[in-house]
């Protein structure tokens, strides 16, 4: 603590591309607020003192209404408000537009920890390492209650909702260590659901990647490999082969395709669609097939679903070769323990002591 208590720091670090734009808007509104407040307060004081009882001022014919003045006091705030609205809405649309070239990181919120998983399979608890200058897109889902991923230095926040993927993008611009907070009350240890965001320069990032994340001795399976593991364990390939067959459609190249359902409706096969198709397959059936797929709603964790989807995504890359499914199955067969994809990361020494204790509880 020490001297830190008396540190006066009016502005949190600006560590993302959006932060400076955000602060520009913030301080513009602040200036308007101060000007308006001073104007009104001084006006009140001026009139109150000028017209306090007993002063000798002209009090004849006090005005009871004046439509022109009313129009003015409605018009000026309205125009200013609309100006701010336009500015703000524009920036909001920008910040909610997910960059195409973003590095994708998956985030699972649960009581009371953040779990992150990188595309290359590195898993982190309550810590997130990202390279500087690279747009990062968090694809988030909650296992239990609603959380809010809040990165104050990035001026970024979005809710993490159960049953639905939400997204949050930011571009870190300054290396350093920043806060990850939960801004939505989520139960007893809400205030301990904090973590660190490490923004690293290219050299550090390379080293960190090389080590497979600084917490792991062995190089972990990447997302696709872990997904292949799940694929094999659950026997997905028994029905979903490289080509459409009477039992099941092929999943090769499915991501992003528009699928026609038995009822004639169409759906774009995005991440949410695939999650639903894995967890509650009978909800929507692709035209031409029957409702035969088992329900994996309770047997697969959110992490496993994410990995499986990444694996399915990888199938689309390989231009639909028939062998790919079998091949992928055999790649993962070498270290066939399915606990490797468990969210709790038991084998790792993730997080500092503070976070680990909260995780074990």
């Amino acid at each position: 603590m020490g001297w830190g208590i008396f540190q006066y720091n009016p502005i949190p670090d600006q560590a993302s591309a959006h932060a400076a734009k955000y602060d520009a808007l913030f301080w513009t509104i602040s200036i308007l607020t101060v000007v308006f407040t001073l104007f009104v307060v001084l006006l009140i004081l001026f009139y109150a003192i000028k017209y306090r009882r007993g002063t000798k001022v002209d009090r004849r014919n006090p005005m009871t209404h004046h439509n022109g003045l009313e129009a003015l006091m409605m018009g000026v705030p309205l125009i200013l408000a609309l100006g701010i609205f336009g500015w703000s809405a524009k920036q909001f649309v920008e910040v909610r537009a997910m960059p195409k070239d973003a590095m994708e990181v998956f985030c699972i919120g649960k009581q009371w920890m953040w779990h992150f998983q990188h595309m290359n399979g590195i898993r982190e608890n309550n810590e997130l390492h990202v390279p500087v200058g690279q747009p990062v897109k968090l694809t988030m889902i909650s296992q239990d209650v609603i959380h809010a991923m809040y990165l104050p230095e990035m001026r970024a926040q979005y809710h993490v909702v159960p049953g639905r993927y939400t997204e949050l993008a930011f571009t870190p611009t300054k290396p350093g260590r920043y806060k990850i907070l939960c801004a939505m009350h989520c139960g007893t240890q809400h205030s301990e659901m904090v973590g660190q965001l490490y923004v690293m320069d290219d050299r550090e990032w390379g080293e960190w990647l090389e080590k497979g994340g600084n917490k792991y001795k062995d190089k972990p399976l990447n997302m696709v490999e872990a997904g292949a593991q799940v694929w094999k364990d659950k026997g997905c390939g028994n029905c979903h082969t490289g080509l459409d067959n009477p039992r099941a459609p092929s999943l090769v190249g499915i991501l992003g395709k528009t699928r026609t359902m038995t009822d004639g409706t169409t759906a774009v096969a995005d991440r949410d669609y695939l999650r639903e198709a894995i967890k509650i397959p009978h909800n929507r059936i692709t035209a031409g097939w029957e409702n035969t797929m088992p329900v994996y709603g309770s047997t697969l964790t959110e992490t496993q679903v994410l990995e499986l989807v990444e694996f399915i995504k990888s199938l689309s890359v390989s231009k639909g070769e028939f062998q790919r499914t079998d091949m992928a199955g055999s790649t993962a067969a070498s270290d066939g323990d399915s606990t490797a994809v468990d969210i709790s990361n038991k084998g790792s020494s993730a997080g500092n002591a503070q976070f680990r204790s909260s995780e074990e509880r």
């Binding site: 009140i44 000798k56 009871t64 409605m74 909001f92 910040v95 609603i146």
Partner: protein
């Protein structure tokens, strides 16, 4: 207000009997259908709930002086802030002005003998108390840890006494619906002859707008909370994500009421301020119709902005932007009110008495509270600020700086009418200033710490010990504020027994309640039927000021009294 007495006086010429001493038995109080007695009983009840809510607030502030907490476990801390929020919102802010001052004054101000449905009024008092005690029981039996917003699925999986608490809130909700039904019936149908809509005091206009909001909004939140109860109690799954239900739908339905609820809290306060400013500037309110219609338009627009609580809760971007736009437009009628109040002082004769000090304080704080609302109405700035102490500071500026200051102003204004005694002006002015200073000291630092990123409802902030500075300031301020709230409780109670007799119109104010009733009023309010012939607020500032010009020394003496 000018009005003439018509017909022969049916009661005996004024006798010292009034509503307070009409009957002395306990039963005559507890089963009274007199709107004034019900108002007084509400006063006692809300003060009780406010006291408990304040203790919870004090515990929160004390706990936050250290980054690692001092006394409470996280579990107890969560229960404490939930208790604070639930009691203050549902048992205090939503009801305080309408139930105490509205109940007491509305029939008198419009020249009626009582509310339209006196027995319903009594029923709603007892529903309010029942609801309140169920809520308190839920705290005693284990507490509630989901915050006052009860977001699902947290509130459906929590193992605390949420069901009992929600049942209490449900009952309180219907209590405020019945009060609102009563207000609507009374204001529509019970006005004295000649009391046209544009002769109504603005206090009535704002209560009418409030009542409309209550009957349209409260049932929605009642059913929503009821659904949480059935989800907890029977396993029904209406918001459950596992069944395909949408937890965000709960937020939609919740804020459909709970944003308008903010206007339920603040609109009656606007009414009080209009009355006080007009009386102590000794002149009619500037732009009467604009102030009246701004109440209605706030009530109307207030229903279309609930989505600004949900910009980040995976609501569609398009809808978020539309809600943001309407929220910005909503700033306009509020600005109209503030400017009209300010201009009311022009060519007036301003008295700095206790209620006026509260009203001026209200205006200053409401301007800040309202303008900081712009940060949150604007979609982009909301991204960083929502869910932080910035929000906490903002709504306390509106709710405490707005509603509570106006309520205290109103209580001080109508206290002589309610109880026939005056209080010490010195202590009154002193407490108004202490509250103003203490309030700003408490909540202004929270804007700053919120901008720095301190999430609300956090128990610890050991990861950022530099925030302690702001929390220390805030806690120090809250001590001052608490002391400021304690003072009126003491000297007002003292005045009940030892205060000077007030006389029917101590402020020399206009309005039926001042000019045609005794202090305290008799049970039937008026001794004769009333016929209103002219508009409200016919003050004469020039003449009023002259009275003080002539004898300036006496004025100084009077002010120092």
């Amino acid at each position: 207000m000018s009005a003439t007495v018509v017909g022969q006086s049916s009661a005996k010429p004024s006798e010292p009997k009034n509503y307070l001493n009409a009957d002395h038995t306990l039963k005559s109080w507890l089963l009274s259908v007199d709107h004034k007695r019900i108002g007084v009983m509400y006063l006692i009840a809300v003060t009780f709930f406010f006291f408990i809510g304040s203790i919870a607030a004090a515990m929160i502030r004390y706990e936050l002086t250290s980054p690692k907490g001092i006394l409470l476990s996280s579990e107890v801390y969560n229960k404490t802030f939930s208790a604070h929020g639930i009691l203050m919102v549902f048992q205090f802010l939503v009801v305080v002005v309408p139930a105490v001052l509205g109940n007491f004054l509305i029939p008198i101000m419009i020249g009626a003998r009582d509310m339209a449905y006196p027995r319903l009024n009594l029923l709603s008092l007892y529903m309010f108390i029942t609801g309140g005690f169920l809520i308190l029981a839920s705290f005693v039996l284990g507490g509630v840890d989901a915050g006052w917003t009860f977001y699902v699925p947290l509130s459906t999986i929590s193992e605390t006494q949420i069901s009992l608490c929600l049942v209490g809130i449900f009952i309180t909700g219907f209590s405020s619906i019945f009060t609102a039904v009563n207000f609507i019936g009374t204001i529509h149908k019970m006005r004295a002859p000649g009391m046209t809509w544009y002769r109504l005091p603005l206090f009535i206009w704002s209560h009418y707008a409030t009542a409309i909001v209550v009957i349209l909004g409260t049932p929605v939140v009642a059913i929503t909370l009821f659904l949480v109860v059935v989800e907890r109690g029977f396993g029904f799954g209406i918001f459950s994500p596992e069944l395909g239900g949408d937890p965000v739908l709960f937020q939609h339905l919740f804020w459909f009421y709970s944003h308008p609820a903010v206007y339920i809290m603040i609109l009656p306060a606007f009414g009080i301020i209009s009355e006080i400013i007009s009386c102590f500037s000794r002149r009619p309110i500037f732009g009467y119709r604009f102030v009246a219609y701004s109440s209605l338009s706030i009530a109307f627009l207030g229903f279309l902005v609930w989505g600004h609580h949900m910009f980040l809760s995976s609501q569609s971007v398009l809808q978020g932007i539309i809600f943001s736009l309407i929220s910005f437009i909503l700033a306009v009628p509020s600005a109209v009110k503030v400017f009209n109040w300010t201009l009311t002082m022009v060519k007036g004769s301003v008295h700095f008495s206790t209620p006026m000090l509260y009203a001026l304080g209200f205006m200053g704080l409401f301007v800040i509270g309202g303008l900081t609302g712009l940060y949150l109405a604007s979609v982009d700035t909301d991204v960083h600020l929502t869910g932080t102490y910035f929000i906490v500071a903002h709504f306390h500026y509106v709710m405490v700086g707005g509603t509570i200051l106006a309520y205290l102003g109103g209580i001080h204004f109508w206290w002589p009418k309610m109880f026939g005694r005056t209080y010490s002006e010195f202590w009154g002015r002193l407490s108004a200033m202490i509250i103003f200073i203490g309030f700003n000291l408490t909540f202004f630092p929270q804007f700053m710490v919120g901008y720095l990123g301190m999430p609300r409802r956090y128990h610890y902030y050991y990861f950022a010990p530099e925030w302690q500075f702001y929390h220390l300031l805030s806690t120090a301020g809250s001590t001052v504020l608490g002391f400021g709230f304690l003072l009126p409780a003491l000297y007002l109670t003292y005045s009940l027994f030892k205060g000077k007799k007030a006389g029917p119109n101590p402020w020399n104010a206009k309005g039926l309640e001042w000019e045609y009733t005794s202090s305290p009023p008799i049970t039937e309010n008026f001794t004769q039927p009333i016929l209103v012939t002219d508009s409200v607020y016919d003050y004469n500032p020039a003449e009023d000021s002259k009275m003080y010009e002539v004898d300036e020394e006496a004025t100084v003496e009077d002010m120092n009294k």
